[in-house]
């Protein structure tokens, strides 16, 4: 078999990859370097800087975004992998309150679940998955659910309190 087997149908140069995907509800078609990480693509090529680079080693979760509705670490995903997927970043999360805050963001504000705010976008993306349940979450469940998100300010307690309180109010309080 000839070497051309590695060339994808999507691009003539196999080091570049043409991708089409949905970003925060809108279509995107572009070409990326095969080695470009999703977080760098989002921040530097789509100018969506709400997704943060914290540790860059797949530990801290500050870079969490949703791919097809599931929270993932965008520092550990290639941009090429989201071809055909739906990607939601913190910029795509909003609510109907006066500041446009989503109920998860509003709950974090109410309970002082952030201080410097660097980890908050990732915490929100993880929390959205965690709150996809009809049952109220226990403190232990929320703590366990946040093990992929590191916060160096709050000591977590206020984040946990915010999410427990929000889930106790029922699923309709989370949906927008």
């Amino acid at each position: 078999m000839s070497h051309h087997a590695v060339t994808t149908e999507r691009s003539a140069d196999a080091h570049r990859v043409a991708i089409s995907y949905v970003l925060n509800g809108g279509p995107v078609s572009c070409e990326v370097d095969a080695r470009t990480l999703l977080v760098h693509h989002l921040r530097e090529e789509r100018n969506l800087t709400g997704t943060h680079v914290g540790c860059d080693t797949s530990q801290c979760g500050a870079c969490a975004v949703h791919v097809d509705g599931r929270a993932v670490k965008s520092c550990t995903v290639l941009a090429a992998q989201v071809h055909g997927c739906e990607v939601t970043t913190i910029e795509g999360v909003r609510g109907e309150g006066p500041d446009g805050l989503h109920p998860v963001q509003e709950a974090l504000r109410r309970k002082h679940g952030l201080q410097c705010g660097f980890c908050t976008p990732g915490v929100v993306m993880t929390a959205l998955n965690l709150l996809e349940t009809d049952e109220p979450l226990t403190t232990a469940q929320v703590q366990h659910g946040l093990t992929g998100n590191i916060c160096r300010c709050t000591g977590y307690q206020n984040i946990v309190d915010a999410l427990v309180e929000l889930s106790a109010a029922g699923p309709e309080s989370v949906d927008e």
């Binding site: 087997a5 670490k73 550990t76 998955n129």
Partner: protein, 288 residues
């Protein structure tokens, strides 16, 4: 932390994937969920010419119940597996291991098959696989092979997979009547990896005699492996406190235990007994 340059291929069929591998075998890395490979690429501990993303191979994505057990596709994510009630009802060990495997975000992308192929000596799924006697199925243009899990892990991060082979699925058997299982990990507090962990499967008859025992360890040697002496102490014995104590005392015997800054050899040998004992007790606590 940007990977070195590579070509990217995302085949849509298993045949295309095997063809790409056949043409570029020694310079291609297979990526399933990428949760181990991408960190290695970023650290430039891996620098393949080609990264082949197999996530579009839809046939490898399912969990199928078969007469003898479950056929788990290579692309089944950790999250999917640990939330499969049909699997976890029969195999508590899967739920135990999943609880503390990496974190929820990694579990959304990382795969069971990828974890076995990666053959991390401290991986959780390898110990579960050894405790449950899974069979690994691999395929290449040359043909298909079935590999019993006890022959699969050959060295540090090395499995019995040729450069042109793809792990396609894993057969997880149904447990025999009277079987209880459990997994217990002592995790490194920062990394979450096992400093030592044990997966245990015990099949106990109505008289309390152990008919089959598996004790699988991870985090302790160059590969995940079975604690043969502990299994020998349990099989054929009436399972009482004395039998459990004997298994714990000999669990590290015959194993070339690795030491490191976190756990020197003597301490890790001690931990092998601790996790073995706790896993046995946890499993026994599940007897009806």
């Amino acid at each position: 932390m940007i990977p070195s340059t590579f070509a990217y291929a995302a085949p849509e069929t298993l045949h295309d994937a095997m063809s790409i591998l056949a043409a570029n075998a020694d310079e291609t890395k297979i990526m399933a969920g990428g949760q181990s490979l991408i960190p290695l690429l970023k650290l430039r501990l891996a620098g393949p010419a080609v990264v082949m993303d197999i996530s579009r191979l839809a046939d490898l994505r399912g969990i199928e119940e078969t007469p003898s057990g479950f056929r788990i596709g290579a692309l089944v994510t950790h999250e999917r597996l640990i939330n499969d009630g049909a699997v976890t009802r029969r195999w508590s060990i899967v739920e135990d291991a999943g609880e503390d495997l990496a974190d929820p975000l990694v579990r959304n992308l990382g795969t069971f098959g990828g974890s076995l192929a990666h053959a991390d000596p401290a991986g959780d799924w390898p110990a579960v696989a050894l405790a449950t006697d899974v069979v690994v199925h691999v395929q290449s243009l040359r043909g298909a092979r079935e590999i019993p899990i006890e022959d699969f892990f050959t060295y540090l991060f090395t499995a019995d997979l040729a450069d042109d082979e793809i792990l396609t699925h894993v057969d997880l058997p149904k447990p025999a009547p009277g079987t209880v299982t459990a997994y217990v990990k002592i995790a490194h507090p920062a990394s979450g990896y096992a400093v030592a962990a044990a997966g245990v499967r015990l099949t106990i008859d109505a008289g309390g005699t152990c008919r089959a025992a598996r004790v699988a360890l991870t985090g302790v040697a160059t590969t995940p492996l079975r604690a043969a002496e502990a299994e020998r102490a349990l099989e054929g014995a009436v399972i009482d406190d004395a039998a459990v104590r004997r298994a714990v005392e000999c669990a590290a015997d015959g194993i070339d235990v690795m030491g490191d800054t976190y756990a020197p050899v003597d301490y890790r040998r001690h931990l092998i007994g601790v996790v073995t004992g706790r896993a046995i007790q946890r499993a026994l606590g599940r007897r009806p």
